[in-house]
């Protein structure tokens, strides 16, 4: 079903990894919004969105990343993206996300960036 979407959560030290699987569009974005919102509310602000299983994203999905970035950074954390497939990456690229977000080729690299204090857009 091309409107299936799910978020799986795991922790790696102080970092929360949210694995996105499926299609992130205006219908499924609220699910992702809740997942990130829950982390932020509970004080977890070091977040990696593992996009390896993300096969589609529209602006509604991009909007979730946009709307949380400032708050998460103000709380001392970061919202990093990792392992985006090329078809999806071209959408992030067209809109200039790479200049503002830390987009890592793998979850491992995103974790290394967290321990080195690297952010995007700096």
């Amino acid at each position: 079903m091309p409107n299936a979407f799910s978020v799986n959560r795991r922790e790696e030290g102080s970092v929360v990894i949210l694995s996105l699987v499926g299609f992130l569009d205006a219908h499924t974005a609220p699910l992702f919004e809740k997942a990130i919102g829950d982390e932020h509310t509970s004080g977890r602000n070091e977040i990696v969105a593992d996009c390896a299983g993300l096969t589609y994203i529209s602006s509604a999905g991009l909007g979730v990343f946009m709307s949380f970035l400032e708050e998460i950074r103000e709380a001392g954390g970061d919202l990093k993206l990792a392992a985006i497939i090329p078809k999806v990456y071209q959408v992030f690229e067209v809109l200039g996300f790479p200049a503002l977000f830390d987009i890592a080729p793998s979850v491992e690299q995103a974790l290394v960036n967290f321990s080195n204090g690297i952010r995007g857009g700096e």
């Binding site: 091309p2 409107n3 299609f23 529209s58 946009m66 709307s67 078809k87 067209v94 809109l95 503002l100």
Partner: protein
């Protein structure tokens, strides 16, 4: 060989749950029109954005309303029309904001129209609020 025009139409209830079906429709028609995989993905995105706008803004998520997607292609281009009978709007009044501004304002929206304009070669709105609003978008088929 003269270029034969083909038209495909899909009409669905105005609900975001149907965006997936709209994308499948566009993918299939785009493939028949001769677009490559990357361009098909872009077409899906542009139509998704346009239909999501109709569902959320023109119809305020009233699922009893209908969204129409009409795709016509020949050898040279595909034209996709998105038709609604909802509220309408003035596209020229919508400011194009940069990503860093949107992020600073913690906005979760405001990228749809930019995506549509970036992907498609021509984008025209014909708005008659409450009667018939039509978004007509064209993308040229680039032969490999």
């Amino acid at each position: 060989m003269p270029s034969i025009e083909q038209t495909f139409t899909l009409q669905v209830p105005s609900s975001t749950v149907n965006l997936a079906m709209i994308r499948e429709f566009v993918a299939r028609v785009g493939g028949m029109a001769g677009f490559g995989e990357n361009d098909v993905a872009k077409l899906e995105l542009a139509v998704d954005e346009a239909c999501a706008n109709v569902i959320e803004h023109a119809y305020d998520s009233d699922t009893t309303k209908q969204v129409s997607v009409r795709a016509t292609f020949d050898d040279e281009q595909i034209q996709i029309e998105i038709i609604d009978r909802g509220r309408g709007f003035d596209p020229s009044s919508i400011p194009q904001q940069d990503l860093d501004q949107l992020i600073a304002q913690r906005r979760s929206g405001g990228l749809g129209l930019r995506l549509i304009r970036t992907i498609m070669d021509d984008v025209q709105y014909q708005i008659v609020p409450g009667e018939k609003n039509e978004l007509r978008m064209v993308k040229k088929i680039r032969k490999p």
